[in-house]
């Protein structure tokens, strides 16, 4: 199957990636060829197969709810592109 430019734009929006016109075309072609390759899987009947989501048979790993020291706020904020009053700062949302 081949992806249309419109589909590429939709996926790019979901992925929060702004793409140039050239990238839309190129990624569209490349994704189509990878998806064509993935279509090989359709020759395999899997109706009765349970999907394997995780290799280890562990689920719900709990720990006791104890208060422990956290990482330092200032140390964490030191990596922020913009911070103010001990908070992350971003462009306006509304």
């Amino acid at each position: 199957m081949a992806l249309t430019i419109k589909e590429v734009e939709h996926v790019a929006l979901l992925a929060r990636l702004s793409l140039s016109e050239d990238e839309k075309k190129r990624f569209g072609e490349q994704l189509s060829s990878i998806l064509n390759y993935a279509d090989n899987l359709n020759s395999l009947p899997t109706d009765d197969i349970e999907p394997l989501t995780h290799i280890l048979s562990v689920n719900n790993v709990f720990r006791t709810d104890e208060i422990k020291p956290s990482m330092g706020r200032d140390e964490m904020l030191a990596n922020a592109p913009q911070a103010e009053n001990s908070q992350y700062k971003v462009p306006k949302i509304m």
Binding site: L3, A15, L44, I49, E50, P51, I55, P81, Y88
Partner: protein, 484 residues
Amino acid sequence: MELFELTLHELQERLARREITSEEIVKSIFTRINRVEAKVKAFITLTEESALQKAREIDTGGKYSGIAGIPLGLKDIFCTRGVKTTCGSRILENFVPAYESTASRRLHEQQGVLAGKLNMDEFAMGSSTENSAFFATHNPWDLTRVPGGSSGGSAAAVAADEVPFALGTDTGGSIRQPASYCGVVGMKPTYGRVSRWGVIAFASSLDQVGVFSKDVRDNALVMNIIAGHDPLDSTSAAIEVPDYTSNLDGDVKGLRIAYPREYFGPGIDSAITQSIKKALLKYEEMGAVVEEVSLPHSEYALPAYYLVAPAEASANLARFDGVRYGYRDFEAENVVSMFSQTRAQGFGDEVKRRIMLGTYALSSGYYDAYYLKALKVRRLIANDFAKVFSDFDMIVSPTTPTVAFKLGEQAGDPLTLYMNDILTVPINMAGLPGMSIPCGFEQGLPIGMQLIGKAFDEATLYKAAYAFEQNTEYHTMKPDLGVK
């Protein structure tokens, strides 16, 4: 013999006998790095000052055991407190973590000495290290060729005698393939064997931390330190870690070895097939039982992997949005365009491609057809291995279809590049331990043999790899970099 040429266990012995100091080792490897790094380009960051300082402290303390006082390298995917960690990406070009990954913390606690952070494909996506946002690493055996990837810096640094050992990560072959291309020992343990905490995530159900070394004993020594449960990683296994060095005795009598016919088919270079067959004969001579088997769903592993891994990556990489760390585009007027433009400028092509692919495979209307289908196929692949392992102790195959290819040769076509992973990806899909050891040369370039084990049975792989090493000379061969 210069100190930089020695293995970890040789350095350990000399330190223990007080013949050398840690400072001398560190000085020796930085002499080596200064001589060859312009050619190999394995490191993104060097930490010479802090390495020398730590070495002197260890020498003053005078306690040498384990890896104490011995230099090491880390793939630049391990968060290192106070040391820049880029993950090979522009988006993290100036990121200095406030915390340390569990695996590297364990090495530091044992007084290992960090020499630097190693180059990699951006976010571990690639098979050549050409996807690094900074520069390509060169294969020490032939500087016009790639070292493999994504842990190409780690493999090249060990092969070039720049460090005695290094850590890497492996999601679809990123330890084994570069180990094979660079002629070193690379172990990807069972999923869950080593904590992934503090390791920048690519595909969380596949990622695993492992070790590059010059020989099998060194690899086992380091695995002893990093393996084991970590409360900070809920997917790390609470299964006891044996001493991996305890049964390096060269004995493989009665060991049942399978080789899957699907891994020796067309598309695999005949020199490589021959080399692995020769190695299997060697195992037979040593008393192992070798039989052909089938892993019938092998051909489906790669297409399934290229849905599962990008899907998980698209979720994991959503955190890079220019808010809490890393690059931000300051031109954007609102928050959504800030996200989209930050990511567009911060990520390279391959990362964008995989985010797009994964987002598509998880998106409404395509989830069942692609992602769910791939997970079902993943079950079939795991079942194939389980069936063989009900009757065998180990599976042997080539690590890669070819020897190292030329820089730039496969850059244009993503699918061709993905084919490099065809023999390593199934092992990640099944979560099993896999190892690559040197087993021959093709036109002067190393060939790797892949040893695959039962879940949490790294010990058998180490034992069998050691036996092969004791009976061959491949691991002693070194590339000629044209300098002393």
